[in-house]
């Protein structure tokens, strides 16, 4: 056993960032995620690893600091919650358009507008379908435990640098605020200038030596023909992610006749709902998407030979259910159950919804 602690999800994001060799964090306070920056300020990683931590003047400035840092080949990140992510949307699409690796953490709260500070999952569309303008995708990871908050920080950076694409951890106020046992990752040193040259030398703006062309971090190409070719390249990259990076977990699916599909904190609630439903004799399983993009479409399709109906459980008015329906393509009934606006459903409510909407009781 390594370094095991009892920690809040938000605190773990900060600790995992320091430990994975992150070079810079740029943030702006917003509930329910302010502990991320506060933890970093208390930890003073500048003195330990040299990691830069800066409170920006706005979410807009913070994401653009991330753009600047990412352009230098550095591992940089920001975090925020729903209204703040809307403000970052411009910077996020620029990151995607300039093919820059970065980590954005969204500890989702209920909306729309200023909404509430209580947990929700109503930013699924924003994270998975766009949010900013243009045809782009984020790599979206949905942790369902404090342990995954730890694990996904390093994983996000790995995927972001593998595909030169921004990655998002889409969590929510439940996972961010709750305390759980976590085994922290070992410390990894930050990349040296030499390592950055090796890993990202072909594009990073670190100063142009005489022996190479200048590196330019940009998403601009006024020539439409070239812009279309570039878009083809992006789409090929997203297809490669769909091919290689789908992650999901199946719980009690071996003999399942019915299926919950749920991610993040809803998946935790569904785990209990599976137990309660099975006590009633309903053979239900849980498919938990871990990557929301790329989405586990094939994994859902493979379940269709056995299951008779699917309930998509989300703390939203029904967003991910659209991707479930696309995967299922009308072969079995798919319904949505959700509480939203900051209300967290109980396992009992989930079982009841399964009975009413899928079993027709």
């Amino acid at each position: 056993m390594g370094d095991v602690r009892l920690m809040k999800g938000n605190e773990v994001i900060a600790e995992a960032a320091i430990r994975c060799g992150c070079d810079g964090y740029f943030g702006y306070p917003i509930t329910p995620q302010s502990e991320i920056m506060e933890t970093l300020m208390i930890r003073r990683p500048q003195e330990e690893t040299g990691m830069v931590v800066l409170q920006a003047e706005s979410e807009v400035a913070a994401i653009n600091m991330v753009y600047g840092g990412a352009s230098c080949g550095k591992k940089v990140m920001t975090s925020s919650s729903s209204p703040g992510i809307s403000l970052k949307a411009e910077g996020i699409t620029y990151l995607a358009g300039a093919e820059l690796p970065a980590l954005i953490v969204n500890i989702v709260r209920g909306g729309p507008g200023l909404g509430t500070i209580q947990p929700a999952q109503s930013d699924y569309f924003q994270a998975v379908k766009g949010g900013g303008h243009g045809d782009y995708k984020l790599i979206v990871l949905a942790p369902a435990s404090v342990q995954e908050m730890n694990d996904f920080v390093d994983l996000s950076f790995k995927l972001a640098f593998k595909y030169l694409n921004p990655a998002m951890i889409l969590s929510d106020g439940v996972i961010g605020q709750m305390m759980e046992k976590v085994e922290l990752s070992d410390f990894k040193p930050r990349w040296t200038a030499e390592e950055i040259k090796e890993i990202s030398g072909s594009w990073a703006t670190v100063g142009k030596p005489a022996d190479r062309e200048r590196n330019i971090s940009t998403s601009l190409d006024l020539d439409s023909a070239k812009q279309e070719i570039f878009n083809h390249k992006l789409q090929a990259k997203y297809r490669a992610m769909e091919e290689n990076e789908v992650r999901f977990e199946k719980i009690a699916c071996d003999d399942a006749e019915y299926l919950f599909v749920a991610y993040g904190s809803s998946a935790r609630i569904c785990q209990k709902a599976v137990e309660q439903a099975r006590e009633k004799g309903i053979k239900v399983g849980l498919l938990r998407p871990i990557t929301l993009f790329p989405y586990p479409t094939k994994a859902i399709q493979e379940m269709l030979k056995d299951v008779k109906g699917i309930l998509s459980v989300e703390m939203s008015a029904g967003q991910m259910v659209e991707d479930v329906r696309l995967a299922v393509n009308g072969k079995v009934p798919v319904e949505h159950f959700g509480r939203y606006g900051g209300i967290i459903p109980t396992p009992e409510e989930v079982v009841e919804a399964l009975e009413q909407k899928i079993l027709g009781k």
Partner: protein
């Protein structure tokens, strides 16, 4: 003796008194005739060359006419979203403190949409250089009103002249920035005569030297022309600038600590 050999003799090495710096690329510039950007680009490129910092300099270009500055100066560049260049430069400078980082921004980019970013970068005293090109108009989008547009000035969005009662007043953002304790060197220059260009170059040298000495933020406003936006010839633009811009935006150094 043919004309060619005669020319070659004149431009032979011993007769050479001036050479274009190789840091300024040979790409044909997209700027309109009479535009100040080309001269400013050349000044920056020369200073980078003379200080021997080409391999340590990162430029951040804005949205506006100079969005394509990266096509002209042979260094690594980041192209920022509209107004956000100081945020990019902040992170770049903090993550690579040994580098020379500058932003190059127009009046719409810096004084309007990017007002928050520039004020806060200045207030934090980021160790960067800011080149602020003020031609009192949005050039790239076709000559609309900028925060720095003068009272009564005709633009595409003030077709009857800027009415300050409706649109607010021409913004002296350089004076505002000079008040911030984070800035070390704040100056307003121009580039319409050889003398002005020499002064601008001195200011640019000083600014990059400040970065070298980790002194904090240096801010250089350059009052420039926009012949296309102003709908004047290059010569008339310079006259209009001297008559109208210089009295409201007086040249000189506001702060040098």
């Amino acid at each position: 003796m043919t004309a060619t050999t005669e020319i070659n003799k004149i431009i032979s090495k011993e007769n050479l008194v001036y050479n274009k710096t190789s840091v300024l690329l040979d790409n044909e510039m997209h700027y309109c005739p009479g535009c100040t950007h080309g001269v400013i680009h050349k000044v920056i490129a020369e200073v980078i060359d003379e200080m021997g910092i080409q391999d340590k300099t990162i430029g951040v270009s804005p949205v506006g006419c100079s969005v394509l500055a990266y096509n002209y100066i042979d260094i690594d560049w980041q192209q920022a979203a509209h107004g956000r260049a100081p945020a990019l430069a902040t992170a770049t400078s903090r993550l690579m403190p040994e580098k020379y980082v500058f932003t190059y921004q127009g009046d719409g980019d810096l004084a309007s949409i990017g007002c928050a970013e520039i004020i806060h970068a200045c207030n934090r005293g980021e160790n960067i250089v800011v080149f602020f090109v003020n031609n009192a108009i949005y050039g790239m989008t076709g000559g609309q009103m900028a925060p720095t547009t003068l009272e009564g000035q005709v633009t595409a969005t003030t077709p009857y002249g800027r009415d300050c009662k409706v649109t607010g007043f021409p913004m002296k953002i350089t004076e505002m920035i000079a008040m911030l304790p984070g800035t070390r060197f704040v100056t307003r220059q121009s580039a319409e005569t050889p003398g002005a260009v020499r002064k601008l170059k001195k200011a640019a040298q000083k600014a990059f030297e400040n970065t070298r000495e980790n002194k904090g933020l240096s801010f250089i406003e350059i009052v420039g022309t926009c012949s296309s936006g102003w709908k004047l010839s290059p010569v008339k633009s310079n006259e209009w600038m001297k008559e109208n811009m210089f009295p409201y935006y007086p040249l000189g150094t506001l702060k040098d600590e």
